[in-house]
Symmetry: C2
Subunit: 361 residues, 2 copies
């Protein structure tokens, strides 16, 4: 096993011992790649890595899925009961962690086959993944640089009559040109009133003079995710959109300026929210300020009033305030931010300006 | 609520009462669409439909996700504890079903907040979904007809030097032309030895004279999935590939000929496997014969030796025997089959022939 994976697994095992977890069952494909360098995508079948806090590792997995591994494998054939195999292999006592996203039917079957104390076991892995190492930081920088280039090219290309869906297709082609494997989530390109729905994706709506254009997009490049939002004006837009854009921009830049090691992430949320509340749009800022990101677009850890996390070097999260006026428009501005030893590095370099002509990285 | 959803929910509730389930918590996006006609895609946030066996329904969901619904909604804001809301709303006694794929952390949190007996609750919904109604059968026919047309066009287009990845891109464009929303799973286009890995997707390998070409592809059209496999010969291939192709073809057609109401699905697997075993390739047929399909590419229910299901009119599943010779080649042939009142209807009409020139639907 390569040194980087040994180091990551050792960190996870140390955290398990501190938390009194005897074993943990890992099923998340990104977590499996992070810990072993193996690509595991088994659909509804069973493939988990069992990690003992004291040392050994093994795969319990369907034999259909082969990969090079120097970790012992308990192979299950189609039709065999993989949960029985897993139950037999379980530590006879102690707390068992299970992947937070493991499908519940596996957990319920395992609980019936092997009565133990089960807890959510993803914490030690999630906390390791939240603090990126040098190689991960390099890949995250490259991924966001590609996103900057693609969004700049998309914005420069937008023209009257282009539908949201056509713009998303164009963007996917740009990502491919820039060496990205895939989008990190379905592109959100929302004209005018569509921007007021934070989870609108795309539609057949054509672009027309006077519309706002909210673009929230990201891609995976060498497995690491980018994620950025800009809100542009296509031609002259109503005054209220302009006003809200400058408020959201100030909220974003205020929070970004506060990022440094030691700052509570809840304080970033409060600072951005205070700008928006003071301007009278508090109730229209309906979501948390940001989320962690890396191999997955949304990783454990949030930037919200409820967060008890403290910024430390190597953390990467989004800062993305937004204001949504139902039936009218929405404005959101989002960057990814890396906490450095003495401050922060904004991974996105595209201006926050709403003018499409200025969208040059 | 439209009559079709009322009917589906009533069927689910009747099954819940038969099984002694007081409530069930539904989170699967396809199941939610099946039961309510609402599109729910909430990422890691909480959005579930709570179904009482005796009548009432409600959504417990993050307020960010809005949709038209005449079902009562318990809304949760970002930062609020949705599981506490769900726990308060839970039936005070009785068995609680949870969606088989509900992330385990929600279940563990709910178990801590509301001690009850929890079981996998998807059975009543899965059994309803396994038997398609008239409208669903129409959509499944249309989806597979589009898949036939696209695969025929892809096969006719294939030429020396085209990589697997380029072929997949071309296929995606054909699906779009045919009105499909998306692929139902990443296309598998496997030349030569790549065909021996049943879960190979695509690579930069170029097509060359004398290769076998295994193509396992499907798309979603009006939400319903297609899924079909053909194995072609590009030019003259080694004799063993030809031999294996005719064995796999016979296995597929033998099983298909047996489909009628009342046949145990395990018998279909046995019949196909017997053909392959008799020819000496039993150990190289490494997976079950087939799976159910509909709104999801893989739905509950399998066609395998371990299955205790009996065919009934309206069921749709795949029949897909395969033989894999590691490092050499793989052959798989797959159709979707509908059980009718007095037999079966094969939803795919593309010949099983390995000759690319004959790939005309």
């Amino acid at each position: 096993m390569k040194a980087i994976y040994e180091k990551r697994i050792a960190r996870v095992q140390a955290a398990m011992r501190r938390e009194g977890m005897a074993q943990t069952i890992v099923s998340d494909p990104d977590a499996l790649w992070y810990l072993t360098g193996e690509t595991v995508d088994v659909g509804e079948r069973l493939a988990v890595l069992v990690v003992d806090s004291t040392g050994s590792l093994r795969w319990v997995k369907n034999a259909l899925f082969t990969f090079d591994t120097d970790i012992p494998v308990l192979a299950i054939r189609d039709g065999e009961n993989g949960i029985a195999t897993l139950a037999e292999d379980l530590a006879p006592e102690g707390v068992i962690g299970v992947d937070k996203n493991w499908p519940s039917h596996f957990l319920l079957e395992l609980m019936a086959a092997a009565p133990r104390t089960y807890v959510v076991g993803s914490g030690p892995i999630d906390r390791a993944r939240a603090v990126k190492d040098e190689e991960e930081i390099r890949l995250m920088r490259e991924s966001s640089a590609a996103n900057d280039r693609c969004l700049a090219r998309l914005a420069a290309w937008l023209h009257e009559g282009v539908t949201e869906a056509e713009a998303a297709d164009h963007l996917r082609a740009l990502y491919k040109e820039e060496g990205c494997e895939d989008v990190s989530f379905p592109p959100i390109i929302a004209y005018g009133p569509h921007g007021a729905d934070p989870h609108h994706t795309v539609s057949g709506e054509p672009l027309r003079e006077g519309m706002s254009v909210l673009i929230d997009v990201g891609a995976k490049r060498q497995r690491y995710c980018s994620d950025m939002t800009r809100t542009y004006f296509f031609g002259d837009v109503p005054e209220e959109i302009k006003k809200v854009h400058s408020i959201v921009r100030e909220a974003c830049e205020t929070a970004e300026a506060l990022v440094r090691p030691g700052v509570p992430l809840a304080e970033l949320d409060r600072a951005a929210r205070a700008v928006i509340e003071k301007a009278g749009y508090g109730p229209q800022f309906t979501h948390r300020l940001g989320h962690f990101i890396g191999l997955s677009d949304h990783e454990a850890g949030e930037v919200s009033a409820a967060s008890d996390l403290i910024a430390e070097p190597g953390m990467i999260f989004s800062i993305e305030p937004g204001v949504y006026l139902s039936g009218q428009f929405g404005v959101r501005i989002e960057d990814l931010v890396l906490v450095t030893e003495d401050g922060a590095e904004i991974l996105n370099h595209l201006p926050h300006s709403p003018c499409i002509g200025e969208a040059r990285p």
